[in-house]
Amino acid sequence: MSDEMTNALRLAEAAIFAAPQPLSTRQLGQLLPDAMEAEAVLMALVDLYAPRGVNLVEVGGGWQFRTAPDIAPYLRKVVEVPRRLPRVAMETLAIIAYHQPVTRPEIEEMRGAALSQVTLDLLLENGLVTPKGRRETPGRPTLWGTTPAFLAQFGLNDLRELPKREELLIDPTGPVRAQAPEPAPREEDMLARGDETEAP
């Protein structure tokens, strides 16, 4: 490896380590000497850290170091872990993520049940949702949307990384496979993922 690359890697890893938020490729580019391409440095860094206990991942529109997922059980002894979000909160969060900006009555209509203050508070406390102005209709209801912390929390780079609604509708419990009009490869992916997660 060239000295230039070694230095660029050192600088990049230090910058990403030190940044309180994910560091974007552009921000990194500004730190690096002109000749170095941020993209190439990042790819090298990802490879370098892939086998290690700390990995470099792309989240929330930037790059951040995260502990390797397989180590989590051991780390929970050292790091305090908050309680997982209950199902109601996860469903509400999904509705907000997919339908934002969305009002509380709209969320309630989609879930067919009232949204408790506890649930909303929980999402707010975790910084996952935030008010996004008001709808200019009578009563001017508050509109809700997800935050950058939501992306960071779930390791998403972008809201577009959420699976499409059509992909979600494929019900792994039903004989849908043959009927779905989706292009085959993606469907297979989704089904595979769906099968893993669908724990009734």
Partner: protein, 250 residues
């Protein structure tokens, strides 16, 4: 015992739509192909079972049950109403179930991702390389203008106009005065005579006149005096009721 279990079961659901979705999924077919009629019957059976044990079922469950009963009747006997009605309603129900199902899948998808703070961890300690430079000023036009307004208003506010309190001859005063003077007037006399001389002119004088008139009317109502006006806009005359009675006796 079995019915008790059913109630507990019902409370495990997040509202009627949640139960409906669960029932629909139990049909083991694509949500788009479920039998709405079968679904409705199952739902109503569950609600009926729950009601047998406990009448105080939450309102939204009963509203849903009522709506589904209507839907069932239309689906069974479409010629009773406009068949389109029932079809549309069934489609809406189906669409809502599919929406909820999609969102539930989305929640599951999110839930299985490694979550920050649960499954993966960021750096526990942050180093701060930022330095704060407070040498510059932040000034905004809005701030300048509001400061100007505040200053001018405050200066103006120090010379606030306060009207002199106005003390008028009140009805209470008039009642007292007429009561006191009435005995000394044996015959009809002008109501205006009861107005004190020192009330002043203009508004104060008129206020005193009104107060005296109101007091006079009040006392006449209670039978303490008589009022008389011989012609329109003519002077109002007053006489004590006692004087009147005595006059009659004479």
């Amino acid at each position: 015992m079995e019915v008790e279990a059913l109630v507990v079961h019902l409370e495990g659901f997040e509202g009627p739509l949640d139960l409906l979705l669960d029932l629909a999924r139990a049909q083991k077919v694509d949500l788009a192909k479920i039998s709405i009629l079968q679904l409705v019957e199952q739902f109503l059976a569950v609600i009926e079972g729950a009601r047998r044990v406990r009448l105080e079922l939450a309102a939204d469950w009963l509203v849903m049950a009522a709506w589904l009963t209507w839907l069932k009747s239309r689906l069974l006997v479409p010629e009773l109403g406009e068949p389109d009605d029932a079809e549309t309603a069934a489609e809406i129900l189906q669409a809502r179930l599919m929406d909820l199902q999609a969102m539930r899948q989305a929640a599951a998808w999110l839930g299985q991702r490694p979550q920050l703070g649960w499954d993966v961890f960021g750096r526990g300690v942050l180093e701060d390389f930022t330095e704060t430079d407070r040498s510059k000023l932040r000034l905004e036009m809005s701030g300048l203008l509001s400061a100007y307004l505040a200053a001018r208003r405050r200066a103006g506010g120090k010379q606030q106009y306060r009207p002199k309190p106005m003390v008028y001859f009140s009805v209470q005063n008039a009642l007292e005065r007429i009561g006191r003077l009435l005995g000394s007037l044996p015959d009809w006399s002008s109501l205006e005579q009861f107005i004190p001389d020192n009330v002043g002119d203009g508004l104060a004088k008129r206020a005193a006149l009104s107060a005296t008139l109101v007091a006079g009317l009040e006392m006449a109502k209670h039978g303490r005096l008589l009022l008389r006006q011989d012609e329109r806009f003519g002077p109002i005359l007053v006489r004590s009721q006692v004087a009147e009675l005595e006059g009659r006796h004479e």
